[in-house]
């Protein structure tokens, strides 16, 4: 591969001049500029990114940490993040933690090794204190998980309020005994949503049921399993708050199979307004999050910190959510005809 040196020789000029042309710098006469450009073309020269990185101490790469990319919530986020990063000339490294703290730390190490300029975390597997160490090596932005003590920008919806509204919606449509199905026992999202859930129950004089049983729920599979557990252990439950549309879909799938009617026998609400929530029959009421805007903001905040420096302060960026009402919580009989 041709180097800047080769180009310089070929053009009969110095590396410096070639470098100036490459970087569109002033103080290059027109004829030299042309000679350099011809030489570059002739040799098929492309600047070596490793050398640039070493010299500039920048990688123009960011890492996005998430549990797994097949989860629609996360792949929608990262889709927009990659697009926005690309606009800014940054690459995105995809880092699946599979909810393992060790894996998360491995990926955080990318920051210390200077393999990336910054990191966006869309989930949190270690205690915040562990993560905080890495701020010495570069900026971090939190997406979704709102750690109120973290001296970094956090981008999220008001999870507590959303869960509160979802629960009130269930109650007002007739639910009197409600299960809270939400994965990530120790996540901040979990805690915030649980707060909102309990607040709604409390306000309406409904006593919460033991939810330990349901706290490992994340995907279609767990939604299916939980249907059967609820049938077996809590047959009187007539409302379900599911932390994701996939979980709600899995739950409803089994309910339909078992002849339990949604919403007649049991109301179900999901989260995220994914395609599946519209496609299911019955369609699923859900909470919509503005993925694209949130993802875009995360990247902007991170790139800004990378390029203009960062100071350690907590800074909340709260985005609006929206309840999308559909058949799964509608006691009026406006069902989609089969």
């Amino acid at each position: 591969m041709a180097t800047i040196e080769d180009v310089a020789k070929f053009a009969g000029l110095s590396r410096t001049t070639v470098s100036r042309v490459i970087n569109d710098q002033p103080y290059v006469s027109e004829d030299k500029r042309v000679r350099v450009e011809d030489a570059m073309k002739a040799l098929g020269y492309v600047p070596n990114s490793s050398a640039r990185r070493l010299r500039s101490q920048k990688t123009e790469t960011i890492a996005v940490l998430l549990p797994r990319i097949t989860n629609p919530f996360f792949n929608h986020l990262i889709e927009s993040m990659e697009m926005k990063a690309s606009e800014w000339g940054y690459q995105v490294i995809i880092c699946q933690t599979h909810n393992l703290p060790d894996k998360e730390r491995d990926y955080l190490e990318l920051l210390r090794k200077k393999q990336v300029d910054g990191i966006i975390m869309t989930s949190l597997e270690n205690e915040w204190e562990v993560v905080e160490e890495y701020l010495q090596s570069g900026p971090i932005v939190l997406c979704n998980e709102n750690v109120s003590t973290a001296p970094v920008p956090v981008v999220h919806i008001d999870q507590e309020k959303a869960a509160y509204e979802a629960t009130i919606h269930l109650i007002e449509n007739g639910a009197s005994e409600i299960a809270f199905l939400q994965g990530g026992h120790d996540s901040y999202v979990f805690r915030d949503r649980e707060k909102g859930f309990l607040k709604a129950l409390n306000e309406r004089g409904i006593s919460p049921i033991e939810t330990e049983l349901f706290s490992s729920a994340v995907d279609v599979k767990s939604g299916r399993e939980l249907f059967h557990q609820i049938q077996a252990h809590y047959p009187s439950i007539n409302g379900v708050f599911a932390g994701s549309d996939e979980m709600a879909a899995g739950f409803i799938y089994e309910a339909v199979k078992a002849g339990v009617k949604v919403p007649e026998d049991i109301l179900v609400i999901g989260f995220d307004n994914q395609a599946i929530s519209m496609l299911m029959n019955p369609s699923i009421t859900t909470i919509e999050q503005p993925f694209q805007k949130m993802a875009g903001r995360c990247v902007e905040l991170l790139v800004q910190q990378v390029e203009q420096g960062y100071n350690l302060k907590h800074e909340e960026h709260v985005f609006p959510h929206r309840l999308q009402s559909r058949v799964s919580t509608s006691r009026q009989t406006n069902l989609v005809p089969l």
Copy 2:
């Protein structure tokens, strides 16, 4: 940030010795090794990845090109690719082309800039000749798209055979007039599947209908739109071959809404055996691809070429597919009870 020089000074040794310790090389006495390790710990030293890259001419990073990450087909592939790459100590850069040839070329440039060691392409937006140029800069593996003239490893199922079997399945379950809904008019996947589709029709004495209309189909949205177009222009169609489960789901969603019965009035088959195909009501018959194995193989092939060199030869890795029969093509009345 501490450099190898700092560590050397701190330990009262040379850079060389420190380097030897870092890289687990022989010829370091135990006491020096300990002194170096202590120094590294004391200074919080981490080797700088940019410097290593420049020195070693390796990045331990690969790029995966795909249209968009929210498409389940592609996010399932990349999920497994990232895991396998991680096992091998490689990072994965995610490159969404959004089906734009220019974007694809931009990402291929990563190879020329030496920003990645190799590339996996799961779709193809430029003519192969354009892509072939980049083989001068590093290895490429094709996943899914089988370009028979490409001197690279290609990993895929037998698309023609799969489409043939799907079509026969439709016919044997009663379809006599079939629409071929498949996106990517000029893709190799499209051509191969179309071949299988036409072969089946031909064998059973069914004449194909004009398919131009349906060739932009990829996602839920287009599935929905195509239902209405077919209702309007080809009301006698009673079988649908959809190139993805999402498309099939969108089609069925509108059919159900319009009171058209699947499978009684029209048979539908999807592709990929995604979660949605099981969850829909009626559930969708589909073709399963072994994503995980294919993705793993792609990464192995690429890493092998990166580390052991590559020669330009075409090499096919064909994986088995499987038809998963469900309600959407079943004329027997074993319907899931509503």
